[in-house]
Amino acid sequence: MPTPTDAAGIDTEAAASSSPPDTPVIEFVDVEKSFGSNVVLKDLNFQVAQGERVTLIGPSGSGKTTILRLVMTLEELTGGYIYIDGEPLTHENRDGKRVPVSKKEQKKLRTRIGMVFQQFNLFPNMTVLENIIEAPIHVLGQTKKDAIAKAHSLLDQVGLPDKADAHPSSLSGGQQQRVAIARALAMDPEILLLDEVTSALDPEVVDDVLNILRQVADTTNVTMLIVTHEMGFARDVSHKVMMFDGGHVVEEGPPDKIFTNPEQERTRKFLSAVLGH
């Protein structure tokens, strides 16, 4: 059920993303990931363009979250290459040899990537404000004054203007997740990774969080890689949906097509199970 405004939003995004030279923001080349003998991803190739919002769907254990964690360098890549803005994130290909990139280079690339976690992962020993300004000041080198001003405007944006001095433990799950979103956005990420951000929330606050993310999608040009079970949200915000199963891409396409007229039987089965019809 795409509304006219959504469609318009996607069109402008698409137009904007085609103008810069087409180096993909994220590129997976022959990516392989195994945990011991358990192969989670194999021969995975895909690209995400500037400003594109891609949702990964599929049954649990299909490797969606692993993809996000690989981009955030939370998991070690066991094969292949990941490029961010054309630069190798973990290993580079030197005449067919996989050579690890320096920690320094990796860190530089990593500052362009932000992530929001299922379990929020706010720092409980810091106030909300301290959580948000820590990295902008000490990683990006912003002045304290600028970082605080930005933090306050982000807190406004996520609907928590009066919680700057609160400790995370005094906030509800939904509020904590909104702070986590503000914390990720404070770094001005080029890429935002959303890992099942509503899965740990009470049903009644899920929409609050999703609406904030819809607004972020509408008002910024941040590239998003999303793992979610909220199919309505996936449909609203994404330009592309990728269906995973067993570490492979089963099918990919625009949300309208995937959700209303999928080509693969596997996708159809998954969607009917998730959507309950």
Binding site: M72, T73, L74, K107, R110, T111, I113, G114, M115, F117, Q119, N121, L122, F123, P124, N125, M126, E134, A135, H138, V139, H167, S169, R183, A184, M187
Partner: protein, 239 residues
């Protein structure tokens, strides 16, 4: 600082009639009041001093050991771990004697402080290690997602959260150290219990001096334990 206090200076034992002493009451208040200042001074100048400085050394060094074991390359971490294990698993009395004779030119009190500090650092490092391991994986992942530097990660995220659960155990080790201070007698440091003995021996009275020493231990240990308990609760509420 005086390292030896001669109780015998006050009373000359040869002048005392032994019969009279044995017939004197079980508890002699005059003698107790007489002996108290010496015992108390030894308590402050040696026992408390060694405990306070020794605990600080142990708390800082213990944290350093715990972090080194986690961040050093494997072979080096292994060496640090086994040196720490060795110190932890050998008796403190033996360590005191060994270091005293290995470094004869050093002041015995300084040796006492260093040995107590290092010995208890190896215990405290285990407490810190458990505290650090109790910091959820998601916290580390958040620091990666924010590209925080190793220094900021340890100082601002991991150590503050690890400390919360370690305070009671660290405090208990400090109290243990306090109660181990009488071992200092093996290297000739006149801490409180030694002084108490020296004060009582010439007049063949032991009840008063050792009771005073015991009460002084209690007077310091108990409030410390209560303080640690309070601190623990406060830290728990803060999160």
């Amino acid at each position: 600082m005086k390292t030896r206090i001669h109780a015998a200076e006050i009373d000359d034992p040869s002048m005392v009639d032994e019969e009279e002493i044995r017939q004197s009451p079980f508890w002699d208040w005059d003698f107790a009041f007489d002996a108290f200042p010496d015992i108390f001074m030894a308590f402050v100048e040696v026992t408390l001093l060694v405990t306070v400085i020794g605990s600080l050394v142990a708390a800082v060094l213990g944290l350093v050991i715990a972090i080194l074991i986690m961040v050093l390359p494997k072979p080096l971490a292994w060496v640090v771990r086994w040196v720490a294990n060795f110190i932890r698993m050998t008796p403190i009395v033996v360590q005191l004697i060994f270091v005293f004779w290995a470094f004869v030119w050093m002041d015995a009190l300084t040796i006492g402080i260093i040995v107590f500090g290092v010995h208890y650092a190896t215990y405290m490092s285990e407490v810190y290690r458990a505290g650090i391991e109790s910091v959820p994986k998601g916290q580390w992942e958040a620091t990666t997602a924010l590209s925080m530097s190793a220094g900021r990660i340890w100082r601002k995220v991991v150590i503050p959260q690890a400390l919360r659960s370690t305070v009671p155990s660290l405090g208990n080790y400090a109290i243990s150290m306090f109660k181990d201070t009488p071992f200092l007698l093996v290297i000739g440091v006149a801490e409180m219990v030694t002084v108490a003995g020296e004060r009582g021996a010439p007049v063949f009275r032991t009840t008063e001096v050792y009771t005073i020493a015991g009460l002084l231990f209690l007077a310091a240990s108990y409030p410390t334990a209560v303080l640690i308990n309070r601190l623990e609760k406060r830290l728990a509420y803060a999160h």
